[in-house]
């Protein structure tokens, strides 16, 4: 089975956020871009399926400019992906539909049975790439997916999709595009020999289709909340008094419940 995993370099989750000098975006200065969040889970999921299905390959794809995109592809190789393809853009693009179009053009010519994407990126949290890819490639697409399994005798995937109120169980044959929500608290980490091996593996580079730079969603401002002043501490002599004071504040001042 051919499994494609699309990943996006995102700021290390521990990054201290700062606005860029023009106030439009996150200041990338000194920020480390990594494979994280649901994308990390998508890679883990691809590798787990490969272990289960003989003859499978997991191919990683990342869109964007160097060095960020090739760097996280390198982490994908170190984790065990079979190949890596950099869909190269000259500048950072953060319009998810542009990203989907660029990836879709490349993936369209390399039929994968399963395309895995994180359900949303850790930074912009749009969650648009998986459904947009599905629509562009004319394949069924689902997001908020967990518990993905392959059943060889029926040649179908089974998985769950979470909605706000229920968890649906689905079955579907390939090809599919899935936005994963699964989070493993302990996804595999790259072992040193694999990190060294990954350094010598080639990363294929293909140019993004022309036109893939003119985004229709353009950043204007990046605002950080005023630092919270720290909690207002509630003074009390008995637990009942603490409770009574807090409830009064929540009703009358914060107005969070009637």
């Amino acid at each position: 089975m051919e499994i494609a995993v699309c990943v996006k370099p995102v700021p290390d989750p521990d990054t201290r956020l700062r606005a860029s000098p023009d106030q439009r975006t996150l200041d990338p200065e000194g920020v480390k871009y990594v494979l994280a969040g649901y994308d990390e889970s998508a890679v883990e999921q691809g590798l787990l399926l490969r272990e289960q299905i003989p003859g499978s390959a997991v191919r990683a794809f990342a869109f964007g400019p160097a060095p960020r995109a090739p760097e996280i592809l390198r982490s994908c190789l170190a984790l065990g992906c079979d190949s890596a393809t950099h869909v190269a853009a000259n500048e950072p693009v953060d319009d998810p539909l542009v990203v989907a179009a660029a990836l879709g053009t490349v993936l369209g010519s390399r039929p994968a049975d399963l395309i895995l994407v994180g359900k949303q990126a850790l930074d912009d949290e749009e969650g648009l790439v998986a459904p947009a890819l599905g629509a562009l490639l004319d394949r069924p697409s689902f997001s908020s997916v967990t518990d993905l399994r392959w059943s060889p005798d029926r040649a179908r995937f089974s998985f769950r999709r979470s909605t706000e109120v229920e968890v649906e169980r689905w079955e579907a044959p390939p090809p599919l595009v899935l936005g994963l929500q699964q989070a493993w608290n302990d996804p595999r980490t790259a072992k040193l020999p694999n990190v060294l091996k990954a350094r010598r593996m080639p990363i294929e580079s293909v140019p993004a289709a022309p036109g893939a730079a003119a985004g229709r969603s353009v950043p204007l401002r990046f605002d950080l909340p005023a630092p919270r002043a720290g909690a207002r501490m509630i003074e009390y002599s008995t637990p009942a008094e603490a409770a009574e004071r807090l409830v009064r504040i929540l009703r009358e001042e914060a107005k969070v419940f009637p």
């Binding site: 749009e126 599905g134 608290n185 950043p219 603490a242 969070v256």
Partner: protein, 327 residues
């Protein structure tokens, strides 16, 4: 010229969801007196259409759901495209739910539109639709311009006021639109279960969340958290320390590897406030922390704090809330 807007609504128990009503109100505010087209996904129910008209839409269409009730965003797109060209629509508004986001992505890709999800404010400017949306788990907010001629905007539930009911125009003819499912032989929905929510409303959806951490002490004592949540009609959340210990299922985990929640009120009980937890709840409007350690980092992100033993404070709080709510 005033742009034409299509609002896509979701139904729950035969009524438009609150988020769908909010979207109708936003559309009304954006276009003034110009017509707003509404589309509900599901099987036609007249009272639902009439109620939604009072919220702001003028005409209501129905998009039939596939027989199995399984929603596939991509399968709905062809009918949506037909509808959009018919009404020369420039903006599609829909709730930023899981399915709403799937639909936004699939539709925008085929309609060649700009799109944004999780939007908490939208205005019309000379350059296009200006949208605001929390990013980085609520640690920052970005403002973007959707500058193309077409845009799809998914609105974050509970970020807009419930619309004031207006005199409903004589409910326009409710028309059915049939969705041809191009993948009829493909995916099949084989069942569903309600979200494991620790009792109350689902975590992703609740206006109030009460979350417990390692400080709660044991699986048994975690009932204190559930009782407080019950008194508040709140959802139950947990730190990873709790889900790792198996006191409660992983579906309740809030944080970097769990869910991101943005309720009106988040009460963190016996949670230290590690960054991996905080990123999942910092977007909440009001944060309350209860912790025995006055130097716990959670107090840096909380609005109100109580230093004390949760085993005493939480039952007192539950009792006080039951008292003021008269139950």
């Amino acid at each position: 010229m005033t742009p034409a807007i299509l609002v896509i609504g979701e139904l729950r128990e035969d009524k438009p969801t609150d988020a769908s009503r909010e979207a109708a109100g936003v559309a009304r505010r954006l276009v003034g007196d110009a017509p707003v087209m509404g589309l509900l996904i599901g099987s036609p129910v007249e009272p639902a259409a009439a109620g939604w008209c009072r919220d702001g839409v003028d005409t209501v269409r129905w998009l039939a759901e596939p027989p199995a009730g399984g929603r596939l965003a991509g399968a709905l797109v062809p009918s949506l495209l037909a509808l959009l060209s018919e009404g020369s629509i420039e903006l599609v508004l829909l709730p930023s739910t899981g399915f709403g986001r799937e639909l936004a992505g699939a539709l925008a890709a085929r309609w060649d539109a700009g799109a944004a999800t999780g939007v908490t404010a939208i205005t019309r400017t000379a350059e296009g639709w200006e949208v605001r949306r929390p990013v980085f788990g609520g640690r920052a907010t970005e403002t973007r311009i959707l500058s193309g001629p077409r845009a799809v905007v998914a609105l974050r539930p509970r970020s807009f006021p419930a619309p004031e009911p207006r005199e409903a125009p004589a409910a326009a003819a409710v028309q059915a639109v049939v969705a041809p499912g191009p993948w009829a032989a493909g995916p099949t929905r084989i069942g569903s279960e309600p979200v494991v929510s620790g009792g109350g409303p689902a975590l992703g959806d609740a206006p109030i969340v009460v979350a417990g951490g390692r400080g709660v002490g044991s699986s048994d004592q975690f009932r204190l958290i559930e009782e407080l949540a019950g008194a508040l009609d709140a959802a139950v959340g947990a730190s990873r320390a709790v889900t790792d210990a198996g006191w409660r299922p992983a579906s309740l985990q809030v944080g970097q590897t769990g869910r991101t929640v943005t309720p009106q009120l988040y009460i963190a009980v016996g949670i230290s406030g590690a960054i991996q937890h905080v990123v999942g709840m910092i977007g909440s409007r009001v944060i309350v922390a209860i912790n025995s350690d006055p130097s716990a980092p959670i107090f840096k992100v909380a609005d109100y704090g109580i230093v004390g033993d949760l085993l005493q404070i939480v039952p007192a709080l539950t009792a006080e809330i039951r008292r003021v709510r008269g139950r």
